[in-house]
Symmetry: C2
Subunit: 309 residues, 2 copies
């Protein structure tokens, strides 16, 4: 039985950054998210690949214990392919090629064995497909939704319908601003909470992450990395780590969400240190625990009370 | 005996923001910093005003217990005057008028009674004047230096000399990037540490603050404020709160610096909620303690250890 159903893209990427390049490597939101989640819970993927999908990518996912019964193989075409590069401070990916291929006609089918998974992650796909997925699940305890500028601009009504049906909205600061018209992160979060989710997570890249509830707020810095080799997949890795920790928690409450933020932050920090899933696919639990301990020290507040004069 | 000597501007400001305006109010880096510091230690100001400086501004500073023996009154001119406004997300102040007036010929003289103060804050003035101040002090335990883009661009050699003589460099992310050519905050901090300070503090506005040492890192979020009324003086208030808490600490160590970051963050959060020093000049210790407790809850990490599969 899986604990976490992850719907998203499974892709082949070619990426170039100031620190090197990687050709035809495993990519896609569901790949990044499921590998990150696999350290904390049992995830299953819902996605599609073509007849060209390399066996070693399948075996990488299987080695991480990821359930692939929901991964369709479409023999009529090729796998989603993306190539692009980063320059300077690597904040923005520049696309060279985007071939949706079999992903263009992807219709998500949730396998029987996934339908009562405890948690559902709606990765960055068309909001209409996200709604189809939601309709097939049997009352998941927690649903997270990711999205991107493209859907905010081209499919806002459907996206708003999705946002009104999920428990956690997870976006970056740029997407939050575009969705709400608010550049202030706290004000954008307040507006997003009005769609009805219990938590709004705003990813701020090197500035870390902020999580807002109706009466709660949690902030965690990013690991202070001097060298980022490839930021591709950092957001998906964060969301996957988050959902993995939540899906694996005994009770889903504020503490579980905070563990999720910690898990996502740590996995994303490993992700950007190498291309593709090279780093995140072969971590030892102690490597993760070491970074959790570092984050704990980085955010430790000493006792401090101001006395009256 | 003062514990903290603060050198900087004392000004009269007229400010307009989307939330209102304030005419001829108290401003200047030394005013903001000393008021913030006054909740944690006994500060004294070194600065200059003209013959027009309103008595109520003097009494505001005196009420906060700030030593004014270092505040020169230049009868030959008027007080430094600045007027400006903020628009949109209020990230950048647009100047309407900047009249340096008596500040143009300001030559800092440290009163005898300030010279062996425990701590020194070199507010944002010409680096040559900062060097003159340093030369007049008798071996302060801790010196913090603030600066701005203008001096980075027009007086870099003198500024670099200052940076090599201080214990704490406190700049915002834009200034850090301009000084080092690094957009990455951790990389900019690494370069700034090479000047020799024990700590580099990088203020990131709504994203909070990061403090780097050779082997230490501390990060604290900003208070998640939905409404910012006037950001003027937030950076000076932060630095003043920081230095006040450090100057008032029993031992100057990592914990004292962290208390400083907390004090600066809390005072800056009050500062932006109203114009000028209206909010920060009349806080009760319990208001400060309440926000410290909130920050503690906002950054509380639950216990979380990943077990081997």
């Amino acid at each position: 039985m899986i604990q976490l159903c992850i719907v998203g893209s499974v892709a082949i990427d070619s990426v170039e950054t100031p620190f090197g390049n990687a050709e035809n490597v495993l990519g896609g939101s569901a790949s990044y998210a499921s590998v990150a989640a696999s350290y904390f819970a049992r995830p299953g993927i819902v996605g599609v690949v073509g007849d060209d999908f390399p066996k070693q990518h399948i075996s990488l996912l299987k080695k991480r214990g990821i359930d692939l019964r929901g991964l369709q193989v479409d023999p009529q075409g090729k796998t989603f392919f993306w190539s692009g590069y980063y320059e300077g401070d690597m904040n923005v990916a520049v696309s060279r090629t985007t071939c949706l291929n079999v992903f263009e006609r992807f219709s998500p089918i949730i396998p029987e064995s996934y339908r009562n998974a405890r948690c559902l992650m709606l990765g960055n796909i068309h909001p209409s497909l996200q709604l189809e997925v939601l309709a097939q699940m049997i009352d998941p305890h927690l649903v997270l939704c990711d999205t991107m500028n493209f859907w905010i601009e081209s499919a806002l009504p459907e996206l708003e319908k999705v946002l009104s049906k999920v428990d956690v909205i997870c976006v970056n600061d740029g997407e939050a601003a575009l969705l709400t018209g608010e550049l202030s992160v706290p004000r954008a979060a307040q507006k997003l909470l009005k769609y009805g989710p219990s938590r709004v997570i705003i990813k701020k890249g090197g500035h870390g992450v902020a999580m807002f509830g109706q009466d709660t707020f949690f902030s965690l810095p990013a690991m202070p990395l001097a060298k980022v080799k490839d930021p591709t997949g950092a957001g998906d890795t964060f969301a996957g780590g988050f959902m993995g920790a939540v899906a694996g928690a005994r009770t889903i409450n504020e503490n579980a969400f905070r563990k999720g933020i910690i898990a996502g932050t740590v996995l994303a920090s490993f992700n950007v240190e190498d291309f593709s899933l090279r780093m995140t696919s072969k971590l030892a639990p102690d490597q993760i625990n070491e970074r959790i301990a570092q984050l704990r020290e980085y955010t430790r507040l000493p006792r401090f009370i101001v006395k009256s004069n």
